[in-house]
Symmetry: C2
Subunit: 479 residues, 2 copies
């Protein structure tokens, strides 16, 4: 094996593991190849046996290698060999008697049910979240606030929390003051407030296709028209397409998820973000940037945001802790740029202020540096789960299955045989206590009828494997 | 003094105190009259000296009698002798360069500021709320929920809390199941969701005049037109007026506060509620009933709600704990009648679900019976504060001041000399660190420019007295 130079930034075992991972994906090490023993590895790299073991243990956790009893470690998996990516736009919709609203109601009838293997809900599993430490922050907030968090909070949000959010923006190069932040009751409220700030019923808004169904629903309830732009499964929105749309139509806003878009998992290269901001600036069209998955990257660095490239205050940056720390706390925020005053007014009209206690608890949790530490672990866990789930789907689903390759977030976008009706699959699966999100709910027009979204928020275990196996069986039966 | 027959329902000292209070208000006992000594009172009523003392102590707390050292107790105040009630509709508006939005922004710039004597904010003071006991319920929720309240709650709301809300409805004769309740992030979200469920931009909605400015703002932001109906300062909406409006205009909804309307404090007699429901049923116009002050009555019994008389599911009943238990928890609810499904859908689109922890804490607090106990104390405290503030205003404000006589809630509606501009008074008062709500913000058209709303949520103390004295001085200077 080639020697590598260790940098001081990462753990040495990680650097060794990454080197081996690269060799696997470059086909230097092939499926079935035997790896050097722990002793040999330790000699070759000049590392301790313990570190060498840790590197293999890490790769085994990701499902890339396996240990065979009394034999050693073998290459098990090469993520370059994943199935093809899903198509950009799905096949023609299969006529359906069920409205999208009813489909959503069926799938999400009871998101708190405990007897269901839930691949439909887009949140990390509770066991990945630092519950005990958040509880301590709640206690701290109860004890140290001037009125036990019983009184109203300022409608713009807890000042300590706004300071922490401003600090968090450093991660993507943001230079934000607490006065520029407005706290909301989750990211959904953030998006609804932004839409209300810059649109009127009947206005056109550009969205990705496919997109999170909550966005379509919110727009419908506000009387807005969705103009869908095509998206590349890896790099996101087609910017030439966008520019044409902005030229031709009186679009009032764009609502995009540049980092790890839901459901396709694409991440816009930073260069594309720069160009996107140039385009919306040229046409003076505000951009609502939903960055709720931005911190959940699998690569070395946090991807930038569009807000970073924004000079005119046209980008309304939205995010929350719902996907990364505490879904049930419903703490989100907006950095609304030049629309700050309007956003503050609408927030006040909407819910007066967000709850005091949950804001104070999040502020404390961030202020003692626990969020950064937690995110590091969460990213690792999600990356591992992503690879495991992909392997599971390859193993149990039919061979013509296609799949996204997310570089962050926690959902897989899976394309099945065109004859398959995903909603039917979903209702069949529910009978077996397995829930998935059918592709139909991710567009305004029931496209994607042969797609499903599978969340890998839950750590790999026997239930999960059984769930995927069962799904594979149902698909084969229906195909 | 006349003998009275004690019932077993109330404390004996309260029954004695009420008897004396009635004699004062009936002018049997007049201002300055000396009251019997504690010993004589105890002999006359056949009660202990302690109970007799408690009765006087209670009346002294309400400001109705006073003890003079080494002399005994004297009648100090007769609440029948209050100034006249404010007029139903204010004088013509004084032209103003300041928009209502800007006025609201100025008054409520920082509702969390601690160095201001705040008569503008409509909540009970934190010292009247059971903070320590609520904290215990938070701890209970953290310890006993399946996932430490970190995961999403069901979008319709915590089931235990919905059970408690259904139980609470017994107080006004309601027969509600938990399935009929939808939890919201405070009452403001409840009202906004109801409006969105049954109206479209451009629709007409009947509201009271004057009404809480948040209602006007919410309607404006939803593109709705307010049709204002006149209200009696004691009995609320003029129902003949309402029926004429429903005959003439295509009104899509009524949004009313039948119990202790904000700011005028009127309470619709139950008979009027019955007729109101008959009228809206006849015209098939849904009624959004904001009952947020319903539990804060000063009389013997809780006033009924319109929902009680509703047979067709046309009444959407809204309330919250923000005015009675924990403003900062932002826990409200809707009992939406036949619009249940629509309301559930909009709630899901709006904020997905409300925070898990605050709901679970409220559910526990109610389940152990603490809410009823707390309400009893709160009602007594608010009634006492109401009388004290009224006396203070009579003492310090000019003699031409008129004032509402609320039978519940915690705001006084005060009419000043017609030449006075309440918003100017308000900005002057802010310079002295006193905040009040100017009348202009309680109508769509800057009427009520010589009115102010004064909240008596804060217990009477030297600061409060200084604040009212200072206000009186400013009014006299400006007059």
């Amino acid at each position: 094996m080639a020697k590598i130079k260790f940098s001081s930034e990462d753990h040495i075992y990680m650097q060794v593991a990454e080197g081996i991972e690269k060799m696997i994906s470059d086909d230097v090490l092939r499926l079935g190849d035997k790896l050097p023993s722990v002793r040999v590895l330790s000699d070759e790299y000049g590392i301790s046996m313990g570190t060498a073991f840790q590197a293999y243990y890490h790769l085994e956790g990701k499902g890339l290698i396996e240990s065979r009893p009394k034999s050693g470690y073998y290459v098990r998996f090469n993520q370059r060999r994943f199935p093809a990516l899903p198509k950009t736009v799905g096949a023609f919709p299969i006529a359906s008697d069920v409205s999208i609203k009813d489909m959503i109601a069926t799938v999400y009838k009871d998101i708190t049910a405990v007897d269901v293997i839930n691949f439909a809900i887009g949140v990390p599993a509770v066991e990945l979240l630092p519950a005990a430490k958040i509880n301590k922050s709640v206690l701290h907030a109860l004890r140290h606030s001037k009125d036990h968090c019983i009184g109203y909070e300022h409608f713009q949000g807890n000042i300590e929390l706004r300071k922490q959010i401003a600090r968090l923006a450093f991660n993507w190069g943001g230079n934000i003051t607490p006065d520029e932040v407005v706290i909301t009751t989750g990211c959904m409220e953030a998006l609804v407030i932004c839409l209300r700030a810059i649109t009127k019923p009947g206005d056109m808004v550009v969205v990705e296709k496919p997109a999170y169904f909550g966005i379509y629903q919110a727009m419908e309830s506000l009387g807005l028209k969705a103009v869908e732009i095509s998206c590349d499964p890896e790099t996101g929105p087609d910017l030439d397409n966008l520019e044409k749309i902005l030229q031709q139509f009186p679009v009032k806003a764009c609502l995009l998820v540049p980092n790890f878009s839901n459901p396709i998992g694409s991440c816009m290269p930073d260069e594309n973000k720069r160009r996107l901001v140039e385009i919306i600036t040229k046409y003076n069209t505000p951009l609502i940037e939903d960055d709720i998955y931005g911190e959940l990257y699998f690569g070395k660095n946090r991807p930038r945001t569009c807000k970073y490239y924004d000079k005119k205050g046209l980008v309304m940056h939205c995010s929350s802790f719902s996907k990364s720390l505490a879904p049930g706390y419903r703490v989100g925020w907006i950095i609304p740029g030049k629309f700050l005053d309007t956003v503050k007014q609408i927030k006040m009209m909407h819910t007066l202020s967000s709850p005091t206690l949950t804001q104070a608890a999040m502020a404390h949790f961030l202020s003692i540096g626990r969020y950064e530490y937690h995110l590091k672990n969460l990213r690792k866990a999600l990356h591992t789960q992503c690879l495991k789930y992909m392997q599971g789907i390859m193993q149990y689903f039919p061979t013509d299955t296609k799949m996204s390759r997310p570089q962050g977030g926690f959902v897989l976008w899976v394309e099945l045989n065109p004859t398959l009706n995903a909603y039917k699959l979903c209702t069949e699966a529910l009978k077996h206590h397995i829930s998935i999100a059918p592709g139909q709910i991710f567009s305004a027009s029931s496209h994607y009828s042969n797609y499903v979204r599978i969340s890998y928020g839950k750590p790999w275990n026997e239930d999960v494997e059984y769930g995927l196996m069962m799904l594979g069986r149902l698909i084969k039966k229906m195909g």
